[in-house]
Amino acid sequence: MTMSPTMKPGPLLRRVALAVYREVRFNYWPYLFVLPALAILGAFLLYPALYAFRMSFYDWQALGESEFVGLENYQRFLEMPNVRLAVSNTLYYTALNVPSTLFVSLFVALLLNAEIRARAWFRVLFYLPVISSDVAVALLWKWIYWAGARGLLNNLIGVFGLPPQDWLGDPKLAMPAIVLLTIWKGMGSNVLIFLAGLQSIPPELYEAAMIDGAGVWARFRHVTWPLLRPVTLIVLLLLTIGSLQVFTPVFVMTGGGPANHTLTIAFYIYNLAFGSGLYGFASAVSYLLFAAILGITVIQRRYFSDVVY
C-alpha cells in the first residue's frame, strides 16, 4: 500500500519512527555490525517469505499475467485431493516422532552424562548423524530397509527367525520406518540440549536426595525431570516444528507412497509448486502450515509455562 503525499503519519507511527531514529542515532554501531547478516536474512529469507504470502492470493503465473483470486487458494485447501490425507499423515508422523525422539534422546543423554569410559567418543558418535547430509542418510537407510532377504534389516531380523518385511512398501510399516530414521538422525542435537540441561543441575541437589535415601529412579523423578522441564520444552518445540515440516526422507525414500501413506504436508506443498506449477496454491498451503505450527507452539508454551520450575 502506498501513502498519498497529503497523508501524515499518525501519532503512533511518529512515535515509533522517532524511537527508531533515536535508537539508531545514538547507538548505531551494533546495527552496523549486524547489517550484513540482516541484509542476507532479509534478501534470502524474509523477502521470499513475504513474497510467498502475496503469491498466496494469486493464481500465480511465473512469467505471465497473474490473476488476483483473493482467498480462493485458502478456500480450496480442503477440497483438493490428498489434502486431508497429507494432514493426517503429518500428524501421525508427529505423534510418533516427537515422544519417541524425546524419550530416546533423554535416555541417551542420561547415559552420556554418567561417568563412563570414552564418554567424549560416544558423544561424538551420537552427534555424527546430525552433521551428515540428509539425502545421503536417507539413501543409506533406504538400503538398510531394502525389501527381500538381501536387505540389511531383514537379515538382522532373520537372525531371530522373523520373516523379511517390505519396510518402505508396506503401508503399515512405511511411516514408522521413516520415524526410526529421523530418531537416529535427529537424536544427536536433542541429546546435546539435554546434556546442557543435565550439567546445569547443581550436584548438591543429588547429594541431598541421596542423604534422604533417594534411589536412582527417585533422583530422576524428583530432581532431574522437574529441573529439565525448561530444556524439555525447547526440545519439544523444536521436535514438533521439525516433524510438521518433514520432507527429505519422504522425498528420497518413498515419494509419498505407498498409496500416499507417507505423503506429508511439506512434500505435498513441494509437489503442488514444482510438480504441478500451482505456486499460488502451494504458497497458501505453506502459510496454513505456518499458522498451524505457530498455533501449536503457542499452546505448548502456554501449557509448559505453568509447569516450568
Partner: protein
Amino acid sequence: MCKQTIFRWLALWTILALMAACGPAATPTPATIIQTVEVPVTVAPEVTEPPPPVTIVFQEPWSLTSDRGKVVQQIISDFMTANPDIRVVIKDVAVNSAVFTTEVLAGSASDVVMFSEDGVSLFAPQDAFVDLTPYVATWDASKRNDFYESIWAFGGYEGKQYGIPWIAHSMALIYNKGMFEAAGLDPNKPPTTWDELYEYAMALTSGEQYGYGLVGKQGHDMAWSWYNFVRQNGGDLATETGGQWTVALNSPAALEALEFYLKMKDVAPPETTTTGGGEANTLFIQKRVAMYVMGPWAVASIRKDAPDIEVGVAPLPYSQQLATTVGAGLLTVPRTTQNPDAAWRLIDYLTEVENQVKLVSTGFAFRIPTRQSAVQDAWFQQNPEYIPFVEGLGYGHVPTVLAIAMKYNQVHNEVVQPALSKAFIGELTPADALAEMETNGNPLLR
C-alpha cells in the same frame, strides 16, 4: 581521536572491505568496455576494423569438465570458427522451471536454453520464448522434414514453433542375452507381445533371479511405465470433447493394461514396491533381473558398470499396437535475448546431423539424434543396440495431453500416481483405481 573511535572506524572499514571482496569483480568484461568507453576517432576513414563479435550465452545441463561437456565445448568451438562474428559463452547449469523462471524474471536468461520435452508446453503459454517459426521457414524442406514428427511436436504451441529438438529418447525393452541363453531362450528373438513378455519373464525367474524389473514405487517412473501399456492396448490418457478435456484412463483398454502390469509382479523381485526407474537399472546391472524397460542411457550405463553383460535391446512388447514414451531436449530462445538471430544460427548449427551424432555418440551415449537421416551414420552400424530407440521415435507419439500439460501434470502427480500405487499394493482393485483417477482427475482438468 580517541582509541575507541579509531577502532570503530577500522572495524567498519574491515567489514566494508570484506563485503567488497565478496561482491562481483569490479573489472569490466571486454564487452562492457566496448559498449561504454568512447574512443576518439583518429584513424583514417578507409581503415575499418571488423565489428566486435556478438556474444551469446548457451545454457546446457552438462558440466564442462564431464566427457559430454567437453564434446559440447568442441562443437561450440567449431561453431565459433565457422562464425567469427559470434562468440558463445557456455553456461553449464541444468534448467528446470524454478531456475528458468528466476532467470527470466531477473533478465539474466541465456540466449539459447536447452529444455526437457515439457519446457515449451509449460512456458510458451506464458510468452517466455521467441517464436522460431519464421526462422524454421528459412530452412530447406529436406531439413525440416528430416525431424521425427513425434519429437518435433514437443517444440510447438498453438501453431508456432518455440523449441527445436536437439536430442531425443524413446523407451525399449533391455534384456540380458546371457540370461536368455541360460534359460533356453533365443537371445535374438526377444518377446514381442505381452503374452510372450510374461512367458519369457516366467522362464527367466529362478531363485534370486527375476524375469522383469517392474517399477512399483509411487511416482513419475511408475506412471510412465504403465502409460506405455495403456497406449500399447489402444488407450489414452485424456480426451477432448467440445473443448472440454476429461480423463480417459477409466477405459477397458487401460483396465487390461493395469491388470497386466500387476500380473508382472509374479516375475519381479520382492522390493518392487520401492523400485523406481533408477533402482530397476541397478537390479539389471546386479543381474537380479533379466529384462526391464528404459531409455538409451541405460545401454551406456550397463556398458560402463557391467561390461560383462551382453545387452539386447528390442521394441516394447505390445498387445494392440507398438507404442512407447518419447522425449526430447529442446533448444529454445528466451524472450529476454538481445540477439535472436545469432541464437538461431547456433541452433541451426547444433541441429546439423553430424553435430547431433557427435554429441550423443561420444563417451557415454545417452540419447539419440532427432533427425531421421542420422541413423545412416556409421556409429549406428557399429552400435546396433541404439537402433530400436531410433525406431521408437517413428512409432512413438507425443502425449495428447501436451496441449493441457500444466493441468494434466496435476492429475498425473496428485491423482494417477497414488491411485496406481493403491492398485499396486492391493488397497484398491484395478477397476476402482481407474474410477478414482477419473473421479478425482476430471475436476482438475476443468
